[in-house]
Symmetry: C2
Subunit: 358 residues, 2 copies
Amino acid sequence: SKSYNITLLPGDGIGPEVISVAKNALQLVASLEGFKIAFEEMPMGGAALDVVGVPLPDETLNSAKKSDATLLGAIGGYKWDNNEKHLKPETGLLQLREGLQVFANLRPATVLPQLVDASTLKKEVAEGVDLMVVRELTGGIYFGKPRGFGTNENGQEIGFNTEVYAAYEIDRIARIAFETARKRRGKLCSVDKANVLEASMLWRKRVIAIASEYPDVELSHMYVDNAAMQLVRNPKQFDTIVTNNIFGDILSDEASMITGSIGMLPSASLGEKGPGLFEPIHGSAPDIAGQDKANPLATMLSAAMLLKYGLCEEKAAQRIEAAVLDTLNRGFRTGDIHSAGQKLVGCKEMGEEVLKSI
Amino acid sequence: SKSYNITLLPGDGIGPEVISVAKNALQLVASLEGFKIAFEEMPMGGAALDVVGVPLPDETLNSAKKSDATLLGAIGGYKWDNNEKHLKPETGLLQLREGLQVFANLRPATVLPQLVDASTLKKEVAEGVDLMVVRELTGGIYFGKPRGFGTNENGQEIGFNTEVYAAYEIDRIARIAFETARKRRGKLCSVDKANVLEASMLWRKRVIAIASEYPDVELSHMYVDNAAMQLVRNPKQFDTIVTNNIFGDILSDEASMITGSIGMLPSASLGEKGPGLFEPIHGSAPDIAGQDKANPLATMLSAAMLLKYGLCEEKAAQRIEAAVLDTLNRGFRTGDIHSAGQKLVGCKEMGEEVLKSI
Ligand SMILES: CC(C)[C@H](C(=O)O)[C@@H](O)C(=O)O
Ligand SMILES: CC(C)[C@H](C(=O)O)[C@@H](O)C(=O)O
């Protein structure tokens, strides 16, 4: 029977709790669908800093590279917030993305009927929101050079970064975005700041060029400031959004909060070939870490994305997705999505209920 | 008696309509408060492109520089959207900001009790929102060099921009922000991406250094992705926000949409010395231009900011602000903020009603 290697990176804060629950779900659906998974758990982020002194040990990156897919919990915490750049947990995450060359970050933001009240938006605005942000993840200002500190002609201290895109980087993320839109409702909105930035002008030019390969997808363009407004005004107007690394960071977080349940949202980071990286979009929530309060569903759904996009085990993925919905329908809620009349459970119990539903 | 020179830049789209109404209000409060205003109307944006061939003619910049303050309507439109960079209306606006050295852009986002229903956010989330975004306006990635197009080592076309801040640029915007927070509720949140960008690390370092001059202001820091979320989750947590040019562009537009009435929101752009630039935050709305449908209240309130920050005519400013509220209380609404039971009026009639209230 088929067998896969999965690297688990529990990371920091609530990471270990949500990963342990998701691991159980992966194991169960594997046995039901008749394949095997071998897990390798590796240190990453603050957890790695504390033990090995770097946020992404070579062994961890190598394990992720050799595996069929990697599932990450969360990284970061107050303890390491004032570390120098190369000793920040976040730097480890950026190194992992770069090391795996996962340039395409898929971030769905969906308002489930069961959770529409969790949104701060009015019901009629929030209900039915179902959009996907396709964020470029290994280029732009996150990785652009030159970067650093220096002095200007007046002897003043300066800090600088470079926003830069090459045509091929835009082309490949655009293709992923068009493919994604094609499998969804056929609408793609490319977000840039082409009225000001040259990097965005090239972005728009290349997206328009690639569009000719996808005549069935309806392409539109929006400036990033307007997109930030439109997500609040009428998020339902969006199907698929494609944008650069930093705009995607901002807009995908905004979109996720519009759903009101960021404890529910998964993400997938994919490369041209090679293993993908799957992680919940929420952070490490150090304030509730170790208290069995975390919502494990975003990690469960990330595991489902891992099965679907990473292993092509579509049926196993659907088992997890259906079980998450069933568990919500049966009234179980962690604190972050709890409302009157629902059963309040902790991370572990939520995990067990999902296993029952599977 | 005192006399001021004001440059009016009607610009494009609905710009001329809203400027004409605001001019009447300025004239009326001037006569009531016993000072004189001489207006000089100059072309700018698409209007200037069509006549003179550049988006900011020298005469226009010189008029703005010599005047006591400048009031801008709006610029841009489909017609010029595909122009080359140096022939875009937006480029004229950036040249004007740079030419006047107005590095501090104050963008209030306030939910008026009369208009709380206009927000897409739930009433309990939207009501009482009263925040101010202090955006750095003449630095960062908007103006940073090098910028442009080129080829990388693999012969691929690239587009690039530079995000750069010098210590003095951060210090001066931080001081304006601390002063602003001090006059408000004493809370300042500095927004950056210091977990990734060197330019943001310097930003945070300098903001912390300047904070020692303002021990009475409570300073906090937030990453830009989190700020985009928190504005949706609980906008009332914010008093004053200070951030760089591009993050300020995005977050101030998001914040304005949270109020639900961007037709109501003014802005002021100020320099160390020299005349300020005042403009509504909304765009030129080419789809409703020339139809007497625009909401002139954002421009009226920008005129009030001009009186207050630009001319130190506080009383005249208050007359306009009070008249805008009174007109709303009397039930007059333009289409963008209209709801059942209110009197729907056009741009001109709204202007006349505000004059009556004054
Ligand atoms: C932790 C941080 C470096 C990261 C990013 O900015 O990409 C995070 O915000 C995310 O969106 O995954
Ligand atoms: C028109 C554009 C150049 C401008 C900007 O990005 O600053 C606008 O969006 C604004 O916020 O005033």
